[in-house]
Symmetry: C2
Subunit: 356 residues, 2 copies
Amino acid sequence: MQIEIPVKIQNDLILKAARGQETGRTPVWLMRQAGRILPEYRKVRKSVSGFKELVQTPELACEVTLQPVDILGVDAAIIFSDILVIPEAMGLPYQLIENKGPFFEKTIKGLDDIDSLKIANPKEDLHYVLEAIRLTKTELDGKVPLIGFAGAPWTIFCYMLEGSGSKTFSKARKFLYTQHELAHQLLQKITDSTIAYLQAQFEAGADIVQLFDSWAGVLSPQLYKEFSLRYISQICDSIKNQHSANSIQRPVIVFAKGAYFSLKELGKLNCDVIGLDWNMDISESRKLIGETKTLQGNLDPAVLYADFQTIKNETKKMLNNFGPKQHIANLGHGVYPDTDVERVKCFIETIKEYEF
Amino acid sequence: MQIEIPVKIQNDLILKAARGQETGRTPVWLMRQAGRILPEYRKVRKSVSGFKELVQTPELACEVTLQPVDILGVDAAIIFSDILVIPEAMGLPYQLIENKGPFFEKTIKGLDDIDSLKIANPKEDLHYVLEAIRLTKTELDGKVPLIGFAGAPWTIFCYMLEGSGSKTFSKARKFLYTQHELAHQLLQKITDSTIAYLQAQFEAGADIVQLFDSWAGVLSPQLYKEFSLRYISQICDSIKNQHSANSIQRPVIVFAKGAYFSLKELGKLNCDVIGLDWNMDISESRKLIGETKTLQGNLDPAVLYADFQTIKNETKKMLNNFGPKQHIANLGHGVYPDTDVERVKCFIETIKEYEF
């Protein structure tokens, strides 16, 4: 590992909040903040042939990663990428079809398919993400922290089995019931790849990472424990062990959309922050998760369609429900692409100006 | 109202369970039991030009409604129809596009669109459903009860605004925040139509009805209370008032998929049965809903992809978790169309043979 003297981060509110420290005010960032809401993003997007070219060109990924920091004034950048780079690095290339979503020509059907997958080698297969992180860190020059991310193994598994989005992911769930052992084999391979990938993101300069379990909500509580939480737990433990061996501490956020039934178990993970979606009642969630974790979220993204006064009121209500400590403000899901930038700014400014 | 001497129902276990009475064994039916899982259904479906022709031809709707009673041995029939007959009766015709789902050419955009909608007059606009119910009741000749149904107002509203299915129904949710009063106007019109429709189903012979709130899970707890529960509550109250005026008692089931955050409020509704989806923990749900309601559900539909022994074990586990009283067995959502009929039978037989 290359040892560099890290640049001191000037606005480290998100890192402090993640560690449970006092922050003065609540920090804020948005899922999908680098994206279609910004005209500046749409201009860059238009200059390339497709979304994947943007993801795979470090200079451009860096450029759109920085945009929301300057334009929106968020307290962190999140590297512009996609969770599906992992299946691709393992041997299943994806396409992103405009207005339709992801599509995999090859999917996983049985043992042979799983055997043919490799454990991702981030430095070779995902060098473009790591390069984008390095570039972004240089450009940020310590202004705000940089968030890295990956999909949780269950969510990646869903796409590998289904080949595209789905309302029920019933093919993926069928595999859990009919190919129990193979499902675990595949999830382990994804987990090993993800651990290597997140570790490489940290080494490249990420200050904090988030695991997205976007399809947590399609599993029963029992299956979620066996086929998702087990692997998220491995990832958290592995990162924390590597950190303590290297005497560093970089926070981990887990966002399991729809996993209200698992909030108690999520609270026991070896991570720092639990993301809440907008269905989750804040005080109920706090009770279930316990007092040790910082919570992230959770305004309904549709609130940002409302008038400015409603946005302010709903944002303040959310801040009050979370309280002044152990909270990173965010939406309860990614910002919708057709949201007006001025309304996004109103959300962010309300948070930054709020006094408890 | 025409007064007829009702035929005595021989197997009335579902009605007894709904009323909280002893049943000897747990009764069972399946959401989407009349449908693509049965070769007999697929044969009838092939004989017509489209799904809508099936829905609108009472003899055929009756035929496919009866199939699962005879073939699967379920304890109730559910009338073969679609929740989207209500928007159509109000003035928004729908199509069902094969492998894609519902599509509305006209959607609701503002006041003029809402004003142009009428309150459905079931005896004129939905005579084909009522005729199918009458035919089915005659054919059933008291064998098992017949379940009628409608979509909950919020779910119907979603389709009227969006024009098709959606992962987020963000257009519909946007309308709640930007056109607050209009949203209530539209929901009230849908509610009035639904009350008239369910009352007409009862008069035509339905023994019990279910309200499907399929898109409950996209709303925040606060919005769910204001824009969905309020109208479900009106429907329940209206049915119960009409019943007590006529000295009859026909049970109402409310199934709000994904509304785990509202289980406590659902428990206060003037209805008899609350349906649980497979994400909902059975004993937690019982605690939140309270002791007065019968619960329905909630096996993960994907369990029916497993081997027979797993199906038996998981079904028994579910039965044990619900206990011997106040339970109507079902899946936690509609049976998936590619489920093997023999496995569906295994689920049903395990329930019918189970001894507590």
